[in-house]
């Protein structure tokens, strides 16, 4: 299978440091508040097979603030619901004139499948448990607004790593830049296999150990339905892994708390931590726009 058209963003794993740095630098030059018709006349297709609030609106605003037209296609209420295959949908949307496709899909590898059959760039907006590259990029962007560099940074990632595309992309990205990453969660959410993602990953089952002395804490969403499928009781999970003020105190004084959203206050994170000055959760959402502007500009060859 080919890797798709130039400008595609299918995952972080196969990008090199230079490509990532290029995107982050481009994002820094993007200003959503000062519209610039860089993508005037371009058609951005947003194809969402899963519900999404922040990723979808963020891509949409990013596209529009550069003068592009956007069309949103949702799996419900379209021919997808009638059983049309992903590739047939892709060919159809290409035929109506899409210049770039942004796809969110429950099946890992779906964006790659699409990209390898299309002549326009495909942007992965999250595929199953696989990757969520734009999230990892905006996380890196956010971290770099507070920390000088990623190299040598101590990062703790807590929660349901197994089911998380955000975690996979973040781990690939941060480790490429030399961050030291500790993963933390119960074995059901964090199998030993997770260390295969990148060299030098550490695993711990104790939240205190994970956050002690770190610069960045990334908390992942925990779905109650997924807990229900394990032997872990909700109360035990909260007791052992919830991000609390007491645990936050173990990290460096200027440690950042991040979360890809949507957050469930009272489960993986407390109210107090979500709203504390160290929390970058709202900033992450805000930074999603310039980062996705950069991704779209690069996809359409307008990255000057």
């Amino acid at each position: 299978m080919s890797k798709g058209a130039r400008g595609s963003l299918l995952g972080i794993e196969h990008l090199d440091v230079k490509e990532i740095t290029g995107l982050l630098q481009l994002a820094r030059r993007m200003n959503p508040l000062k519209p610039h018709p860089l993508l005037k006349g371009k058609r951005v297709l947003l194809l969402f097979y899963e519900p999404s609030t922040r990723t979808r609106s963020s891509f949409e605003i990013a596209a529009k603030s550069m003068g592009a037209m956007t069309t949103l296609v949702l799996s419900s209420g379209s021919s997808i619901e009638k059983g049309e295959s992903l590739l047939d949908t892709a060919y159809t949307l290409r035929a109506v004139g899409a210049d770039v496709m942004v796809i969110r899909h429950p099946s890992a590898g779906a964006p790659l499948l699409m990209a390898s059959h299309l002549d326009v760039p495909v942007i992965n907006a999250g595929d199953g448990m696989h990757e969520h590259p734009s999230q990892a990029l905006l996380d890196a962007y956010t971290i770099l607004r507070h920390k000088k560099k990623l190299n040598g940074l101590q990062v703790a990632i807590l929660g349901d790593i197994y089911h998380s595309r955000v975690a996979r992309s973040a781990i690939h990205l941060l480790s490429k830049f030399g961050a030291h990453i500790t993963l933390c969660g119960p074995p059901e959410f964090l199998p030993e296999l997770a260390t295969c993602l990148a060299p030098g990953l550490h695993i711990t089952r104790t939240a205190e150990e994970a956050v002690r002395g770190v610069d960045v804490i990334m908390v992942l969403r925990v779905q109650k339905e997924r807990l229900a499928g394990t032997k872990i009781r909700l109360q035990d999970y909260i007791a052992r892994y919830q991000m609390t003020l007491a645990r936050l105190k173990l990290a460096k004084r200027d440690a950042m708390v991040m979360h890809p959203g949507p957050i469930i206050r009272g489960l993986e994170i407390t109210w107090e931590v979500a709203d504390c000055p160290q929390s970058a959760i709202v900033e992450e959402v805000r930074n999603g726009v310039p980062v996705r502007m950069a991704i779209l500009a690069k996809a359409l060859g307008k990255a000057k």
């Binding site: 299978m1 890992a108 499948l113 595929d127 448990m129 595309r165 997770a194």
Partner: protein
């Protein structure tokens, strides 16, 4: 099926290296076929008298016709994937003179009528087709089928392939009743309660790709239980289909040591590939059982060499493009395999792993013939059926999926350079395939 009594005339296959493991022959011999049977096996130039045709087999291996215990011919009901005619044409091209077809068709082959239907001449089979019938009605795992009736109609074994018999009581009854009539029970060993939504082997590759992985235990626990059940009934015959894990091999070895009548088969893709070959979601590497780790593959190679394994079976599983070139998790399991089996066996087992040619021939002939009691097949002893496979063990060739005789193209081996090529496939004394 070819009628056994037809007068096919005589054919003298001269000067080939005749490998017949059942008869313990591995020497240059001449082979005379007459009227659908082996008339004579003799040292070179000893066969006298006129013949209708000669075949110069110098430099080639002359073997009993290959037998594939596990193919999906997709009829009745799924002829868009394969038909008995196209599937057996692919079999002939791959050197197989007999194939056992699985009952997971639409409808499921669970009645004498369908077993008979498969064997009707109108189906256009060019090799012998031996149906495997469902063990339970519609393969639902609840009510057993009529084993005696199915056997009388021509079924050589029973199996709910693809839908393993998990219920212990049902499996015990299946083995007990099949034992009464000496019928093998073929189990696709997979605890499907542990593999829900899984599309590959649990491994670093599955974690990296974000795919749910099947554990090796999901296979091994079922094999282990079945072996124990088989030991409870005298005469019970358990055949483990497409075995793929080191742990399942341990259970088979335990059974064989304990004098249980347990046999097993291994596919060419499991001894050739590992789950890492899935790379970036290559659905042509999606099969069930899934490709496993390098460690499991190593264990399979050892078992193929040391005699633990009884047969190489392809699990030829044709699927249309729209069922394969889709999202990995949605793609159907399985690949076609009839035309690449010998090339992969010689390339991987013989050349790379030094398994003797005679052992490979055994795994393709006498071994599978024993598993399902195909009398007069799997050997070239005088009086046997004139099913012969002639191949060149040194010939290098490139497999081109686009030229497959199968209706489908779902193979990970497209473009592979292989060593070992079928030159002629003779079924009942008639040439069913001849390499160009």
């Amino acid at each position: 099926m070819t009628s056994d009594k037809s007068k096919t005339g005589s054919l003298l296959i001269k000067g080939g290296n005749l490998i017949d493991p059942a008869a313990k022959i591995d020497a240059v011999m001449d082979l005379l076929l007459r009227d659908g049977h082996v008339a004579e096996v003799a040292l070179p130039n000893k066969i006298r008298g006129g013949v209708d045709a000669n075949f110069d087999a110098r430099g080639l291996v002359v073997a009993p016709g290959f037998i594939d215990l596990h193919v999906h011919l997709r009829e009745p009901g799924q002829s868009y994937k394969e038909t008995i005619a196209t599937g057996t044409a692919a079999a002939a091209a791959g050197g197989f003179t007999s194939v056992c077809c699985m009952p997971n068709t639409s409808p499921v082959v669970d009645s004498q009528e369908w077993v008979a239907w498969i064997q009707q001449p109108q189906r256009g089979a060019v090799v012998n087709v031996f149906p495997v019938a469902a063990a339970t009605q519609a393969s639902k795992g609840a009510v057993l089928t009529d084993f005696r009736g199915l056997q009388r109609a021509g079924a050589v074994a029973v199996s709910d392939d693809g839908k393993p018999i998990l219920n212990e009581t049902i499996m015990r009854e299946t083995l007990r009743l099949a034992a009464e009539i000496n019928l093998p029970v073929i189990q696709h060993a997979e605890d499907t309660r542990l593999t829900e939504n899984c599309s590959m082997n649990e491994s670093t590759t599955s974690f990296r790709l974000g795919l749910r992985g099947m554990t090796t235990a999901a296979e091994a626990t079922v094999v282990d239980r079945d072996v124990q059940l088989a030991q409870q009934f005298t005469g019970a015959r358990l055949h483990v289909a497409h075995l793929s894990t080191a742990d399942a091999l341990k259970a088979v070895r335990r059974g064989k040591r304990g004098k249980a009548r347990v046999t097993c088969e291994i596919t060419p893709h499991h001894f050739t590939l590992t789950d890492a070959d899935i790379g970036e979601y290559n659905t042509y590497c999606k099969m069930n059982p899934p490709l496993r780790s390098a460690g499991d593959r190593e264990a399979l190679l050892v078992a193929l060499a040391d005699g633990t394994v009884d047969a190489i079976a392809t699990d030829h599983a044709p699927h249309a493009t729209h069922e394969k070139i889709i999202e990995f998790e949605k793609a159907l399991f399985g690949i076609i395999g009839l035309e690449t089996a010998l090339g992969l066996a010689i390339t991987r087992l013989h050349r790379e792993h030094k398994i003797p040619l005679a052992r490979i021939v055994e795994l393709l002939t006498a071994g599978p013939a024993r598993v399902v009691d195909l009398r007069g097949r799997g050997t070239l002893a005088r009086g046997s059926y004139a099913d012969v496979t002639i191949f060149d063990p040194k010939r290098r060739w490139t497999y081109e999926a686009a030229k497959s005789r199968s209706k489908s193209r779902n193979t990970p081996f497209d473009g592979w350079q292989l060593t070992g090529k079928v030159v002629a496939t003779i079924v009942g004394g008639k040439i069913a395939h001849r390499a160009g």
